[in-house]
Amino acid sequence: MAEIAERLKNIIRPENLIYGKSPLLNEVTMHYCPGCSHGVVHKIIAEVIDDMGIQDSTIGVSPVGCAVFAYNYIDIDWSEAAHGRAPAVATGIKRISPEKTVFTYQGDGDLAAIGTAETMHAVNRGENIVMIFINNAIYGMTGGQMAPTTLLGQVTSTTPYGRNVDLNGYPLKITELIAQLPGAAYVTRQSVHTPAAVRKARKAIRKAFELSQKNIGTCFVEVVSTCNSGWKLTPVESNDWMVKHMFPLFPLGDLKDGGKDATEPFNIQG
């Protein structure tokens, strides 16, 4: 025992710290359920903003949903949008302050149901913003109702017998729709369920923030996520469920990369 204590004393020294809490994460415990993906994505965003040294020029737009309190956790200026309106709010901020880095952080209900119009049109205009899309196939904050991305057969509180096509229609693959829009610069789908996935997601989010500063269109990062409370599984079981059921419909990887479409094929002025 004494040997181990001595060993730890030698290791746990400030100069040996290789990874800790981002200085841009505020000293408050997040309200999220244990194991929630939101916390990991918040951490990544804080790290990216810190690494890029853009705390003083970044404005976040938080949604309505579980992440409504994102502004309590990342130490930057925030605008808290009405449900689904984050892309419009971000448009207003970016247009009036084009020198700022502006991002939205939205869930599936916010981005792909009530805010679908704002989402599609912000991307279609090629707004030079980052959109972070947390897709966990359920409404978390209101208690586990069906989301636009809820899987067929998935049980939620408003699909108690499983999502049914005749009654509820199909899960919406909005990221695939986004990737079709000429205003989208970079569209990617990531996850944060393993250390390797977290590293990839961090790279993708960093790339999105960097590209957004080049004014080449909208950068859109979907993060396929878990909602273990809504799914009524443990955090570890949720990761397994996500890999097994969500990844086939929402496969990870880049959907578009290279800037908004350069040509204007239908411009009647030539």
């Binding site: 705390q55 003083d56 020029s57 970044t58 404005i59 737009v61 409504v68 502004y71 130490d75 930057i76 200026d77 925030w78 605008s79 808290e80 949008a81 009405a82 309106r85 419009a88 709010v89 971000a90 448009t91 207003g92 901020i93 247009r95 009036i96 302050s97 700022k100 119009a117 704002e118 049109h121």
Partner: protein
Amino acid sequence: MGELRLMKGNEVIAEAAIRYGCDGYFGYPITPQSEVMESLMAARPWETTGMVVLQAESEIASIHMVYGAAGCGKRVMTSSSSPGISLMAEGISYIAGSELPCVIVNVQRGGPGLGTIQPSQADYNQATKGGGHGDYSLLVLAPASVQEMNDFVGLGFDLAFKYRNPVMILADGVIGQMMEKVELMDQQPRWTEEQVKQITGSWATQGKTKDREKHVITSLEMDSHIMENNNLRLQAKYQQMKDEDVRYETIECEDADYILVAFGCAARICQKTVQMARAKGHKVGLLRPITLFPFPEKVIAEMASHVNGFLTVEFNAGQMVNDVRLAVNGKTRVEYFGRMGGILPSPDEVEKALYHKLIGD
């Protein structure tokens, strides 16, 4: 003397915004106010003053663009007409709750529903009693001329920033569409970044620097006691508006036995009625509320103690009449006359109603 021009009310809103040094306009086309954005797009102010102009995908989006941009401490605005304002109700409530300054122009048309594109004043209650959810008030200015369409843009921004509150310019299809002589203000520069920081740097989202706490634009508060205090702060602000910023115009009220109360275009019709009634020996005056919120309730209460009655004239089913009744508080008679569906009453009609309802035929 500023530059004189013959212009449409809607065109003047656009011109006044540019000349005042407005930072941004976000809108969506709707009759009878589409000329506002059309004029802005034709003027291309982004090449001169640097003003941003953007056509949004809906009124919902445009008001939330205003929310985002106003949160940066800039002077931004939108315009629409009645059905569009209904769509904006959500965003207006958020803007009021988050205490953001902005100017919203409503060039009213008839409702309910799709209604008509003809002029109306049927959004009086919506404008003065909130319109969206929650306890909030807009400061509402009612122009009665193309000149006031010009003047109220600047006044609106000044009041919006004085109170950190949305200001509505409640016009109607007549004022928006008609042409009149207008004296325009000289071009003012937009606020510099330094001025914006100086004026709004204590609350706006301009990027968190090390020397201050982060700024969060939000109307959300889960602690009931803090939320109640937030509401009390808003109510105190509305009271301050009532104390300091009531505006109205009186015409021949000094010796009047009967007072017509009308705002906007209706007041212009009533002005003729006053002349006609006076020619027949009736001592009639006109009170024109310029701010519909805060409502000129004190002057009406004072008048109520010595006049024989009030007649409100409105292009609606009788909305402002309730505010007049509250101000009069039973001290004298209060009647209403109005037309709906896009019909404007003639001065003769108003005169007849005045005799029929108040003076006696």
